[in-house]
């Protein structure tokens, strides 16, 4: 089967001296859910932003389905319209209502009519349990609600894969579940997902593989059960003991 996301020997530097990503390789098959974890500063957020070209890379190849991300002639806007992304700080458009947030990409990028876009938005709001808030502005919503809208905004583009960059890290504990529930459901429906997260409960529940990063390198890339039962590297053992102990 043709892989959905391929990263091959990806190198990235900030300036001349600091290498954030060191020859990172990783493959995600269609329908697979891959969780990326690791200590802060390990490069996992940078790595996921390279997949849709939000961060440029200096070496290696990245492709999504049959689209080359790293090529010089790549039309990045077109590629990004097929890949959904959810951010740590939600980044909803504050000057637009919830419905407008979900419609803007559909109408301006995909060329759907306003009516089509609004119908799609209504269906997605229902799905993430936010139908009552369609006319509100982001500022009127809690963090968990905003993140569910951000997921709906990404899904509105009918993406072939979804990227999540620490989607629950900025949330109060009681709001984490409502966001994870939506993500779990999405995973069960067969969405291809790359998820940077510290939520090991989520990883246990739906991940196929866990990728552990440290110091800009992919240290481990193993099926989830194996990762939790017997991590191969000492660094992963230490990391797990730190985050699972409480």
């Amino acid at each position: 089967m043709q892989p959905m996301i391929v990263l091959e020997d990806v190198d990235k530097w900030y300036g001349k001296n600091f290498q954030v990503l060191k020859s990172c390789s990783l493959t995600v098959s269609p329908g697979e859910v891959v969780v990326i974890c690791g200590p802060s500063g390990s490069g996992k957020s940078t790595l996921i932003k390279c997949v849709n070209g939000l961060e440029p890379v200096q070496g290696g190849h990245i492709s999504v389905k049959d689209m080359e991300v790293t090529g010089p002639r790549t039309k990045l806007p077109k590629l990004r319209s097929h890949v959904g992304m959810v951010f740590q700080h939600f980044d909803l458009f504050p000057h637009m209502t919830v419905t407008e947030n979900i419609c803007i990409g559909q109408t301006r990028v995909l060329g759907r009519t306003q009516a089509e876009a609004e119908a799609k938005a209504a269906a997605l709001l229902e799905r993430v349990g936010m139908s009552d808030h369609a006319r509100k502005y982001p500022i009127q919503l809690s963090g968990g609600q905003q993140q569910r809208i951000a997921i709906a905004r990404a899904l509105a583009m009918d993406p072939i894969a979804m990227l999540f960059d620490e989607p629950t890290s900025a949330l109060d504990p009681e709001m984490i579940t409502e966001v994870l529930d939506v993500m779990v459901e999405l995973a069960k429906e067969g969405m291809t997902m790359m998820v940077v997260t510290h939520e090991m409960g989520f990883a246990r529940k739906v991940a196929d593989r866990v990728v552990f990063m440290d110091g800009g390198e992919v240290v481990e890339d193993t099926p989830k059960d194996e990762f939790f039962a017997s991590p191969k590297s000492q660094r992963a053992v230490e990391f797990l003991s730190k985050i699972l102990d409480h």
Binding site: P77, P94, H95, G105, L110, Y137, Q140, A154
Partner: protein, 231 residues
């Protein structure tokens, strides 16, 4: 002592010669601000450009214009340049001076507005597949506008009054025409009070317009107002 002449005051308050002068002041302000905003956007984008040469040119421009008085610039353009063969009419010289000035000040206001939009917004816009132009138009510009409007309003208010400096190169705007009438009738206080009232009327009108614009770009930021709108 002459005392205050009410009849004279009311006569000049409705004098068409002065009214036309006020209309010229208004026209100059609208033209200077419109062209100034467009030119200011260009200067701001140049200043923020990753190309060093563009940003240096923009910096030099604002440094030069903001560092010299408009009065001196107008005299150079209208009275000085003909000496080396470059001639402008009064209106041309006035507009060039005003637009150059507004562009310099507005470029800094626009630059600060654009910089105030968080990086996450451009990432989110790009992530749904917007091009840079779409991102600027639908996401960055409306959010920058909210920050830009109050200082831009200051500039409009300032410009309405700054146009009076052009009277020095005989531009026939409100102040110039007031002075012309004073030469004829010597009602100094009455005429200047009339001129002041006209300026006040125009700046007040702008205040009202600005408040509406602020409300438009403020949506999504004021919980109370937004809730009222949804009810």
């Amino acid at each position: 002592m002459k005392g205050w002449n009410w009849d004279g005051f009311f006569e000049y308050l409705t004098n068409t010669y002065i009214l036309e002068g006020a209309a010229v002041t208004l026209g100059l302000t609208i033209a200077a601000m419109t062209l100034g905003v467009v030119a200011g956007c260009v200067v701001a984008l140049m200043r923020m450009s990753p190309f060093r040469i563009l940003s240096n040119i923009a910096y030099f421009y604002t440094w030069l214009i903001r560092g010299t008085p408009l009065l001196v610039q107008l005299i150079i353009i209208y009275t000085g340049l003909p000496q080396i063969g470059i001639k402008f009419s009064v209106l041309e010289a006035t507009l060039i001076g005003l637009v150059m000035n507004e562009a310099a000040y507005l470029s800094e206001i626009i630059r600060s507005g654009i910089s105030s939009v968080p990086k996450g917004q451009s990432n989110a816009a790009r992530a749904v597949g917007m091009t840079d132009v779409q991102m600027m138009r639908y996401i960055v510009a409306p959010q920058a506008a909210r920050i830009i409007i109050p200082p831009l309003g200051n500039s409009v208010n300032g410009c309405l009054k700054t146009t009076s400096i052009a009277s020095i190169i005989s531009m026939e705007e409100l102040l110039r025409r007031t002075q012309v009438l004073i030469q004829e009738k010597f009602m100094v206080l009455e005429l200047f009070v009339v001129a002041a009232l006209y300026y006040l009327l125009m700046t007040t009108a702008w205040d009202l317009i600005q408040r509406r614009i602020e409300r438009h770009f403020g949506r999504g930021y004021d919980i109370k107002a937004d809730a009222a709108e949804q009810r």
